[in-house]
Symmetry: C2
Subunit: 345 residues, 2 copies
């Protein structure tokens, strides 16, 4: 193990209670070495409520960045925030990774600014692991770059490749480009240029895919610009929530429905878990020096634990280094002309 992880104690809808609870659980279950970053007195009073809590390091940070604050403003004005302190620990090599359930934009910008990008990566990308009918897949970018160029899509593909192969165990991961039709000529200019650039890259590129290919399990990695990816993620979340709401409404509107629901309670619980975003861990900011996992704002303590697990695994499996080596071998990231044979990836 060895690698330490900074956990933003002040990030999330139920901070500091949930992040602290998650950190304590991870320290016990994973033997992870955690540094809790945030307002010391508040963190300590949460720890007091956990009997037999393991010893855990606290790094004090005065300020808290709210979930809805503008990331750019927060970056300028709140330099004493838990997010800043955690990113500084990452920069200084005090920790190998950062986990936060806080303001996604603020965490992303701050981590990138302090830790820096790995050689070969022009733009870090935010990735999520989504459940499919048969397993899991990686979607990126989901919000770090709203206006990337085709060579960035190639870099996203390489980063997604290593995440899928190292963390999800996918063999020779299939990489698709999200579009609104499978023909190479369809879509925006970015899609057409991205299709050409990805076709030349040493990746198992399967061409353009559509949203249904995300959830069917037809691909291991789907790349897109951060605007589109963010829309996919938020639409998915909205539909899941709407469907759960409507299901509850229908089942509770009749006596038979209520009885049936009570009888099938275990099945519903397991179902809810499979479709609940908070259970899927966090989003991974790929391409910066170190690991940075941004958990859902309404994460449970268990979701924080799985975020910490991902951050550790990401570091221990040297995903960063593999990405860097592959991108360097691809040549200058700006050229968009990967000279490598397919076997190198």
């Amino acid at each position: 193990m060895g690698m330490r992880i900074a956990v933003d104690a002040m990030g999330g809808d139920h901070a500091p209670d949930i992040p602290v609870a998650g950190a304590l659980l991870a320290a016990r279950e994973l033997g992870a070495e955690i540094v809790l970053v945030g307002q010391q007195d508040r963190i300590e009073s949460v720890i007091k409520n956990h009997p037999a809590a393991p010893d855990i390091e606290i790094v004090h940070a005065d300020e808290v960045i709210g979930m809805d604050e503008s990331p750019a403003t927060a970056l300028r004005r709140k330099r004493g925030s838990s997010i800043h302190k955690a990113a500084q620990l990452l920069r200084d090599g005090e920790v190998g990774g950062v986990v936060s359930a806080g303001n996604t934009g603020a965490v992303m910008i701050t981590a990138k600014l302090y830790a820096g990008t790995i050689t070969g990566v022009d733009r870090p990308a935010l990735s999520v692991v989504l459940p499919t009918l048969v397993g899991h897949m990686v979607l990126l970018d989901v919000g770090a770059n709203i206006d990337p160029k085709s060579q960035h899509l190639v870099q996203f593909g390489v980063m997604g490749h290593f995440l899928a192969s190292q963390l999800l165990g996918a063999q020779n991961p299939k990489v698709g480009l999200l579009s609104i039709g499978e023909e190479a000529g369809k879509g925006t200019d970015l899609i057409r240029e991205g299709h050409a650039a990805l076709s030349r890259a040493p990746l198992n590129f399967i061409g353009n895919v559509e949203s249904n290919d995300i959830y069917s399990g037809a691909t291991d990695v789907v790349v897109c610009d951060g605007f589109t990816g963010n829309v996919v993620l938020k639409t998915s979340e909205a539909v899941v929530e709407t469907m759960l709401y409507l299901l509850r409404e229908e089942l509770t509107s009749s006596r038979r429905g209520k009885l049936g629901a009570r009888l099938a309670r275990e099945a519903f619980r397991s179902y809810r878990k499979r479709v609940d975003y908070a259970e899927w861990g966090g989003a991974n900011l790929l391409g910066i020096k170190g690991s940075c996992v941004i958990c859902h704002g309404r994460s449970s303590a268990k979701a924080i634990v799985s975020g910490i697990r991902v951050a550790l695994e990401y570091g221990n499996k040297r995903v960063n280094e593999r990405i860097g080596e592959a991108l360097l071998a691809l040549g200058n990231g700006e050229s968009g002309e990967p000279p490598l044979p397919a076997s190198s990836c």
Copy 2:
């Protein structure tokens, strides 16, 4: 009534059976005057299976455009297709609307080409009506324009306004611009320019919205470029299908689950209906002369009937004319500088 509707008998996954069955049902239930367009012998043999079918006009068309054919190629090579014939009937004023469950791209391009756009509209837009927690809303564009300019977003807003007010009965419909954050400065160049242009338009513009605002019922109209809208639509559909699949899997994996599901059968049936895309009718191509409803490929006969109902209502409520008048009052569609006071819309 008076207005006649052409139904593409050859469009959809179960053509000609389903479109013909839907047309017969609409003729009986709505008293609609239908023209069935397609291969005469196949249409007649379907009609024979419907005892006491009402008299219905058939316009023969030799060719059939497949669901997965390239629209551009089909447009050039299959001029004798049912889609072409139906669009020609619309152009010639023989019918006031066209309903097809066929190849969306082919129907869209052909209808636009033959019928032409109404004055003031630069680019027709494809709209869908989606269910929300509290009612329904209009999302556009969902695939007709992948690269619109800000003034087109304003035109989409005006078209959506009239669809929501005339067909959904919304009072002073709230119009939102789909983005990945509510701040006006966030998003792509198109979003920023679109936000400015929509703010000046005589619409009840509520600013940037996110995907969750589509399904929550917070807006009556959401406008976006056709690439993003298509991704929203296909993602929603994929998530709905995945969730229904997972729910079935969980419920059938245990005896108690199966029993509960059987008990709550009616609730599940009603739930399925509320979330099934095929039940939501079709997509409406707004801004062309006449109405054009494109139903889901796997539409049921009832979904075809609701498509026909929408096409009729669209014509009878003179939605086209209202859109044209509003856009003319806005000035030249290309200027993007609507000079009108807010009361005009």
